[in-house]
């Protein structure tokens, strides 16, 4: 059927703009699909390979001190395969700048005789020699601090200042995503890095001799972590067990895994949205084409073309569009996967992470495009079967015109111009097509709200967290729980300090039935004003005398509400094993955007821990001019693990939010493009359908702008219905986005502020306007005399 193919090609050329818009929508959807699929597959593979290669641990235990020579005996516990002990020390890098804030986490390298768990991969240079002040650092720290191999770094270890020489860089499976702690939110390679040091070297530098403070274990195949946790806890209790973390909760692993999961979800949902919009465009376009070529179809039938041949002919349009879009999207997706993977490499130090040309995803994207296009094509062209050739030769019966519901509001209807009345009636004259367009606009609108609602989330996180929740200027974190009195007294007398509030943060396991969550349990004083717990409307809440307050995300994870009872245990509680925990009443559920905590009154938490009046950090309100000198005063103090000013925290939150920015604005732009394509297609269809009507209006003396009003009235009506439908869709989308992006580090608020709704409405309106401006030029160049002179 060479001639029919030629006809298809020329038909497409005549309305190339609409077809191109449709090709672009398909291509964009598949660009996202292919690039993200390849990137996520590479990440997943790189993660698995690296874990296997380096024998990544199944459990991470921190203790105050455990005899080095006893570590191996942990393997006698049922379920444990291997155990390795290490010394882990977080040390401050000493430099000239007094308020500099650089830390290194020092980890001892595996002893040659010990099981090789969490092996490192040497990236550059050579391993440090035993007993020598030599270290390996993570490559990002090296680069961010402009260091080179052979350079030395001065650090303070347990009060001793030591110079350490960098012999190379290395990567461990434990620190693929490097963050100092979960509260940090965002990696900062300049301020925090990992250093690997021979056991013999670090042993000589620390106070605790013959002891390790960190143990990693692997489990025997098929053993669950929960089944061994109790026996580990019992064994290590006398040695001051601080935390027992399964692999799934290990910070780097959890973030990487959640990122992979999030991208996976996006690869499944985003392309469907785009292909859905493309299917709507293709369907309406094909329906119009078939209506327009009714006589041509009749002629083909009269000549003896079979229904199958004719349907196949009309299916070539969506197939050509789908295949072109699929190929374009697939190929550009493969190309984009390379920079995308490089971008992920910036965040995740996965040595094997690299993108590869993927025939599989190219094929998948082609197949996806093909299936979507053919389905919309089949739906759009099945009417051909119902058309008897004799009937097809006659012009179609005029469309039914009846009064619409809106016309009952006579006062409103009569204020409209004739053009507007024509446009609005047309919406109801083709209900299926209008419905599809309304759905399309709804989808575009809800996609756009995401950008504004993400902006709102950023504001809530930064403004609420920094201005209302954390109202302190400096947080002084202690290395271990310490008696409150002395520290508070010392800090309170430092220059510029106007207020000091102790806080007690301890690791705890919260259980409700079979659901369990390990979090930081935070004890706040009754009169605490430097850390506030707020309710949904932003009012400050008093910490209740008894029981525990849970953050919304935490309550959801445990499936509890206010009034329920949960079982709480903490490794820091001084009690015999038989009473390792306590049932506590959930007195309330509060929103918490940064961090995942349970809150108690400090006295109540101290009672629970039975360790007397202790605290783990001091919140300080002080003169900002003195912050620098305070940092330099405490930077070498052995009982202070960090001093962080609110400014540092703010910068981190801001940085994390910026990392969302790209995705969010990309979504808005792509959403806008979909909206444009949809409305542009609707305009072109309206124009071709109403050529004669519009030409008559031109002949009557109307300007192109006045004639355009017929089309724009129709579109603004569709737009209004689309927005109405889009609002609930936007709420749904916002909720699922917030849910999928929230994790143990931060919860994103799901509410949609009026600005998001209005902003997205304006954004959608803009794409409608752009599409209409294209329609305007088409009307302007309408050869109306010629159109009126020819028969349909």
């Amino acid at each position: 059927m060479v001639m029919l193919r030629r006809k298809t090609w020329r038909d497409i050329k005549e309305n190339f703009g609409v077809y191109l818009a449709c090709i672009m929508v398909i291509a964009l959807g598949l660009l996202l699909y292919t690039s993200m699929s390849i990137a996520v597959e590479s990440m997943d593979k790189a993660q698995q390979d690296f874990y296997v290669e380096t024998n990544f641990a199944d459990g991470f235990i921190t203790v105050t001190g455990y005899p080095e020579n006893k570590v191996n005996s942990l393997t006698f516990l049922p379920g444990i395969d291997q155990a390795a002990g290490r010394i882990v020390k977080e040390v401050r890098v000493i430099d000239q700048q007094e308020d500099s804030n650089r830390y290194l986490k020092m980890l001892t390298l595996n002893d040659a005789n010990a099981p090789q768990i969490n092996q490192i991969q040497l990236i550059e240079g050579q391993l440090p020699d035993e007993n020598q002040p030599e270290i390996l650092v993570d490559p990002k720290f090296l680069a961010a601090n402009h260091l080179s191999l052979g350079d030395s770094i001065d650090v303070s270890i347990d009060g001793n200042q030591v110079s350490l020489y960098i012999t190379g860089t290395a990567q461990s499976p434990e620190f693929i995503y490097i963050m100092r702690n979960a509260q940090d939110l965002y990696p900062s390679a300049e301020e925090f890095g990992i250093a690997y040091v021979p056991l013999s070297t670090l042993k000589a530098l620390v106070k605790e001799k013959g002891q390790v403070n960190d143990i990693v274990i692997t489990l025997k195949p098929g053993v669950s972590f929960d089944s061994v946790k109790d026996s580990i806890q019992a064994e290590l209790k006398p040695y001051g067990v601080r935390s027992i973390v399964p692999r799934k909760d290990q910070t780097s692993h959890a973030i990487l895994t959640s990122e992979i999961k999030q991208i996976r979800t996006m690869t499944k949902t985003l392309p469907v949205v785009f292909l859905g919009v493309a299917a709507i465009i293709l369907y309406t376009m094909l329906r119009r084409l078939i209506e327009q070529q009714r006589v041509a179809i009749g002629t083909l039938k009269a000549f003896g073309f079979t229904d199958r041949e004719i349907i196949l002919h009309y299916l070539t349009y969506p197939v050509v569009i789908g295949t072109t879009g699929g190929l374009l999207g697939g190929l550009s997706g493969v190309a984009l996967s390379f920079p995308l993977t490089t971008m992920y490499k910036e965040f995740f130090a996965l040595p094997g992470l690299k993108s590869e040309f993927s025939l599989k995803y190219l094929f998948f994207s082609l197949a996806l495009a093909f299936v979507f296009s053919v389905l919309s094509g089949v739906k759009g062209s099945l009417d051909i079967l119902r058309l008897e050739p004799a009937e097809a030769m006659r012009p179609p019966a005029p469309g039914t015109a009846r009064k619409t519901l809106i016309e009952k509001f006579t006062w409103f209807w009569q204020t409209l111009s004739s053009q507007a009345q024509m446009g609005i009636r047309d919406v109801f004259r083709t209900p299926t097509r209008s419905l599809f367009n309304v759905i399309g606009i709804g989808v575009v609108y809800s996609l756009m709200t995401v950008s504004w609602s993400m902006q709102n989330m950023t504001d809530v996180l930064t403004v609420v967290q920094l201005e209302q929740v954390q109202t302190y200027d400096v947080k002084l974190q202690l290395t271990e729980p310490s008696p409150t009195g002395a520290v508070k007294f010392a800090v309170a007398h430092d220059p510029g300090v106007s207020k000091v509030e102790p806080v007690l943060e301890v690791p705890a396991s919260l259980r409700s039935g079979w659901l369990k969550k390990d979090v930081a349990l935070m004890g706040l004083s009754e009169e605490s004003t430097l850390y506030n717990i707020l309710d949904k409307s932003g009012r400050r809440l008093e910490v209740p005398d008894h029981g525990v307050l849970l953050s919304e995300h935490l309550a959801k994870s445990l499936n509890v509400k206010a009034g329920d009872v949960i079982y709480v245990e903490s490794p820091l509680r001084r009690e015999p094993l038989s009473q390792k925990g306590e049932n506590l009443l959930v007195t309330g559920v509060v929103p918490q955007y940064v961090g995942l905590n349970a809150f108690m009154k400090d006295t109540e938490l101290q009672r629970f821990l039975r360790q007397g009046e202790i605290s783990t950090a001091m919140l300080i309100q002080m003169d900002s001019a003195e912050i620098g000198s305070m940092k330099s005063k405490y930077q070498n103090a052995s009982n202070v693990s960090s001093i962080e000013s609110l400014k540092d925290t703010g910068a981190k939150i801001q940085k994390m939010m910026e990392s969302f920015g790209f995705t969010v604005w990309l979504l808005a732009i792509l959403g806008g493009f979909c909206g444009f394509a949809l409305i542009y297609n609707a305009s072109i269809i309206s124009l071709s359908e109403r050529k004669r009507e519009l030409a008559s209006l031109r002949v009557l003396g109307m300007t192109p702008r006045e004639v355009l009003r017929v089309i724009t009235s129709e579109q603004w009506t569709l737009y209004a219905f689309g927005i109405l439908l889009g609002i609930p869709m936007a709420y749904g989308l916002s909720m699922s986005m917030a849910q999928s992006m929230s994790n143990d580090m931060y919860s994103l608020p799901a509410d949609l502020p009026p600005m998001a709704l209005l902003g997205a409405a304006a954004g959608t309106a803009f794409s409608v306007l752009v599409a209409q401006s294209r329609a305007y030029y088409k009307i302007k160049s309408l050869h109306y005399v010629e159109i009126l002179a020819t028969r349909d």
Partner: protein, 234 residues
């Protein structure tokens, strides 16, 4: 002469909403091989419906229709399509050419489904359009377009050529050119041609004239000496 087609008591009714309209009310006829037949009748007399039934574009509601002794009234849609494909050529008042195919390509389109097609170039030469084959319909006059339509109809080498008001949209000079082409096909290629028209003058070219009135075949007139197109005018 052998009978090519025979219709017995053909009736056709349409239902539009609540009303049922009977367009053909029982028509009986015979058409012989190689005949030139003109069907005359007022608007609404059922001419186009009869032509559509003869051409397999629709089926009669009741009655029998035989083509080469095969019952067309008993065959299904697929067989009817094959009948149109292999046996019938159509020429329409409004030409119905594919606007984005050239004259040559419009004719070639029909060749692609024909069992025993003629040469496209030969046919275009026959209708006097050999120099216009690269032109799109919008670049041709009405008469030229109609001749492309005729070329498209006969390139399949059909037995039966059905023309619905083939000169209806043309001026007299162009109309005569088109009629000459049709008569040539009938006389030189022995194709059976049926033309439906309002124009009584055209009837003078026919072997027989069917007069349709109010859904019935009112009269059949045999013309002993059909005229050439040049001899008629309107």
């Amino acid at each position: 002469m052998d009978v090519l087609m025979e219709g017995k008591d053909l009736r056709k009714h349409y239902r539009t909403g609540e009303v049922e309209i009977e367009v053909l009310k029982g028509i009986n006829f015979q058409i012989f091989y190689g005949e030139f037949i003109v069907v005359l009748g007022q608007s609404g007399s059922g001419k186009t419906t009869l032509l559509n039934i003869i051409g397999g574009m629709t089926q009669a509601s009741t009655g029998e229709l035989y083509y080469k002794e095969q019952p067309l009234h008993e065959i299904d849609d697929q067989e009817l399509t094959l009948y149109r494909r292999n046996e019938v050529g159509f020429v329409f008042q409004n030409y119905n050419l594919m606007p984005n195919l050239t004259a040559y390509e419009n004719v070639r389109l029909a060749v692609e489904i024909a069992q025993n097609p003629l040469s496209v170039s030969d046919i275009l030469r026959e209708v006097g359009l050999e120099n216009w084959s690269d032109h799109f319909p919008s670049q041709l006059s009405g008469g030229q377009q109609q001749r492309v339509a005729i070329a498209r109809a006969i390139v399949k080498n059909p037995e039966l050529l059905l023309c619905d008001e083939p000169t209806g949209a043309l001026d007299i000079q162009t109309g005569i050119q088109v009629l000459k082409a049709l008569q040539k096909l009938n006389r030189e290629y022995h194709k059976t041609v049926i033309i439906i028209t309002h124009n009584v003058e055209i009837a003078k070219m026919a072997n027989r004239v069917f007069y349709l009135k109010d859904g019935l075949l009112d009269d059949v007139k045999v013309i002993e000496k059909p005229l050439c197109p040049e001899e008629i005018s309107w």
